[in-house]
């Protein structure tokens, strides 16, 4: 379709925003409600439980701390990737976006070791409610990491062709993908202390 949709790239004067920016924030709002529901479930189940294990009973705090650092770092490299595009340095974008994706991969690898260690010890979602909410919350979060990596991967790879024809549009896409990635980081910032440290 070559019909022009207004304000896809340029901002609409009265709102000061383009369509994609509003779209991604609306999506993030819905994600806040999704994770909110799971956090609400955690609160309701924990308050209603006669006893509740501390995270350290089952979970590996050092590994999770490492994962926290990995995710925070990937958020910074995401910002740098976008900033590189604004300064029209495509190869630096490639570098930082690549690191961001690798950090995501690192996060998942650590998660893999965490999960397999749990299973090895006979700790499954079915074992008790704590483990159930742990696996569900971190599992859903992990799916979002994968999703974010997929979009970032697309923008690093085939999607980057847009840089040549419409660099501003491409920069905006990277920015919007970055917003999603930061939300993934933000959710983890809450997940980590709630599940592991309390």
């Amino acid at each position: 379709m070559s019909m022009e949709i207004p304000y896809t790239v340029e901002v609409r004067p009265d709102t000061g925003l383009n369509n994609g920016k509003i779209g991604i924030w609306l999506f993030l709002a819905s994600e806040v409600m999704l994770f909110g529901a799971l956090f609400a479930s955690y609160v309701m189940l924990r308050v209603g439980a006669p006893e509740w294990p501390r995270g350290s009973t089952y979970l590996n705090i050092p590994l999770a701390t490492l994962n926290t650092v990995i995710l925070i770092s990937s958020s910074v490299t995401m910002v740098l990737a976008w900033a590189s595009l604004v300064k029209q340095d495509f190869s630096r974008f490639r570098l930082f976006m690549g690191i961001t994706i690798l950090c995501g991969l690192g996060f998942l690898v650590v998660k893999y070791f965490e999960y397999t260690s749990k299973f090895h010890h006979g700790y499954f979602p079915a074992t008790n409610t704590f483990l159930a909410i742990y696996f569900t919350l971190t599992g859903l979060h992990g799916l979002h990491v994968i999703g974010g990596m997929a979009v970032n991967g697309y923008l690093w790879g085939p999607g980057s062709a847009l840089w040549k024809t419409d660099p501003v549009h491409f920069t905006n896409r990277v920015e919007n993908s970055g917003l999603f990635w930061h939300l993934v980081d933000l959710v983890w910032i809450f997940l980590f202390p709630v599940l592991y440290l309390l």
Binding site: W25, V69, V76, V79, H182
Partner: protein, 111 residues
Amino acid sequence: MSESHDPKDAHAGHSHADVDRHVRAAYFVFGSLLVLTAFTVGAYFLHLPMRAAIALALLIATVKGTLVAAWFMHLVSERTLIYWVLGLTAVLFLPLLLLPTFTVLDGIVLR
């Protein structure tokens, strides 16, 4: 964020100077986040009573989250519309988080 009207410089309204400032802010936030992560883990070793531990953990997480939202997600310099959307979301998030637990706590008492 200064509005640049030169089409060649029109990368969503950011000039190069803006971006450099932004990147510096991002590094500062990065450092803060690492420090705060250390605090979070350190607080664990304080072995506080549960209520205090929860409050402290959530406080630190909120500060970290605010830093990410404000600088990584550019919310410090975002448009009013986005603030409204997020404000609405925050207002609706609270009943979702709290009311189900309140109904469980406020049970029928048989006398």
